[in-house]
């Protein structure tokens, strides 16, 4: 029995009829064509499918699309303002916080929430905040630097 959902993704409302078993990550990728959200482990471990659901980071492989009915979802595609990158995207670029880039969308969405909770995070807070996201290339050092750089940029912008 299909179910109707109304989900605002990156500010755009979408009304869809979906199977209840459709996972949020597949709704984003396969129904809406937003392939920035990646499918990694499919077992809630790697964090590459991280998106914001009503402002909180969730693993989109472990949430049903039906559960997002009435909610606002933000994906990596929703961060930049036109051609202007979000400070987190800019910082990952500047600090070389990626190699292959597979984990990057999830890292950035997790870091987005991290900086909301801790606008001026210590290195330890950054590392703990990203515990749910795996990167198999960089060894994390540059990712931690990138998040710290974004915190500085966002702090400077808001002060």
């Amino acid at each position: 029995m299909n179910t109707s959902v109304s989900i605002a993704v990156n500010g755009t409302p979408h009304d869809s009829r979906i199977e209840p078993r459709l996972l949020l990550v597949h709704y984003l990728r396969d129904v809406l064509g937003l392939t920035g959200t990646h499918v990694g482990c499919e077992t809630s471990l790697c964090g590459s499918c991280t998106v914001l659901l009503d402002g909180r980071a969730v693993k989109a492989c472990t949430v049903l699309a039906a559960q997002a009915d009435g909610a606002e979802v933000t994906t990596i595609e929703g961060l930049a303002d036109g051609d202007e990158l979000h400070p987190l995207q800019e910082a990952f670029w500047e600090e070389h916080g990626l190699q292959c880039g597979f984990c990057t969308p999830g890292m950035i969405m997790a870091a987005h929430q991290l900086l909301e909770d801790h606008p001026d995070p210590s290195e330890a807070e950054i590392r703990h905040g990203l515990e749910g996201n795996l990167c198999r290339c960089t060894g994390y050092q540059n990712i931690v630097r990138a998040v710290r750089r974004a915190a500085d940029a966002m702090g400077a912008a808001s002060s």
């Binding site: 472990t62 949430v63 991290l114 515990e131 749910g132």
Partner: protein
């Protein structure tokens, strides 16, 4: 990795949810945070025909002190417990446990009550609630009742609750004037289930003597276990090194671990002793006693 097909219901009231469960019997599963159930459905370890999603029922989340107890609403996420100032100040055992469950993103979604009724012996909340002497408020076809935590766990992934029941909240004794607690978790890597974990809670009287003690164990039996002999070894004594040593050895005796890729029986049992001692020392220090 796609769940089997099911019908999905998102009731907006508890009565509606109870009616749905009554109508569908054991074919239906309750969905709260989904951080265990959805992966199990994806692996086809669970294939419920009907999901009843509680997330649209108002007023079922939150952590508050009221009427002489601490109340944790059933839809309270691990992250809400972790971030609660009240919990951080007065319930260190709960704060510490909430901070080491899975990872921050899973903690945003997973619920305390959902974790308890999932009844995974490697779950952290079971040990914490056993140490605290919690009670679950349960609504079922015959109305409301309180289920003491000591009567909840039957065996791995099985509780004494019926398919028509919904947990609406968890009630804990309020923290006393001199109370303390700690959660010690040994894990192979960040985000893993515990190899062994120990929850400890102490209440001291004005003379610094233990008036109450709670010790719960994670991942060393078919369910979370309560180490009652270890608790008895502390009550009526000051929590000094001798008392803590005796209690820690009794806790190790209460454990019933199995060997797996996280360690041997002997290793896990000894880790119960070591982690119990650490948790009790910190609980005692927090309560303002020795340790």
């Amino acid at each position: 990795m796609i769940p089997a097909a099911f019908d999905y219901h998102a009731p907006t009231s508890l009565d509606e949810a109870l009616s749905l469960l009554a109508a569908h019997g054991d074919e239906a599963k309750v969905l709260a945070g989904g951080q265990s159930l959805i992966p199990m459905m994806r692996f086809r370890l669970a294939e419920p025909g009907v999901l009843v999603d509680l997330n649209h029922i108002e007023g079922m989340a939150g952590v508050t002190e009221e009427d002489g107890h601490l109340w944790i609403g059933a839809l309270t996420r691990h992250a809400e417990v972790e971030r609660s100032d009240l919990v951080r100040k007065r319930y260190p055992l709960l704060h510490e446990a909430a901070s080491v469950i899975a990872d921050p993103i899973v903690r945003n979604r997973g619920t305390v009550a959902g974790s308890l009724v999932h009844a995974d012996p490697a779950g952290d909340w079971g040990a914490v609630m056993l140490a605290c002497g919690a009670e679950l408020e349960v609504h079922g076809p015959d109305g409301q009742r309180m289920v003491p935590i000591d009567e909840l766990f039957v065996t791995t992934f099985m509780t004494s609750l019926s398919p028509g029941d919904i947990v609406t909240g968890i009630k804990l004794p309020i923290a006393g004037k001199r109370s303390g607690g700690a959660y010690e978790k040994l894990e192979r890597k960040v985000g893993d289930f515990a190899t062994v974990a120990v929850a400890a809670r102490l209440e001291l009287d004005d003379d610094g003597v233990c008036s109450a003690a709670g010790i719960g164990l994670t991942a060393v039996g078919a369910t979370n276990l309560r180490a009652q002999d270890a608790e008895k070894a502390l009550i009526g004594k000051k929590p000094d090194e001798a008392a803590i040593d005796a209690a820690s050895r009794a806790a190790a005796e209460a454990a019933s671990p199995t060997a797996d890729n996280r360690g041997s029986v002997e290793y896990k049992r000894d880790m119960v002793r070591v982690l119990s001692a650490r948790a009790l020392r910190r609980a005692a220090a927090h309560a303002g006693g020795e340790g």
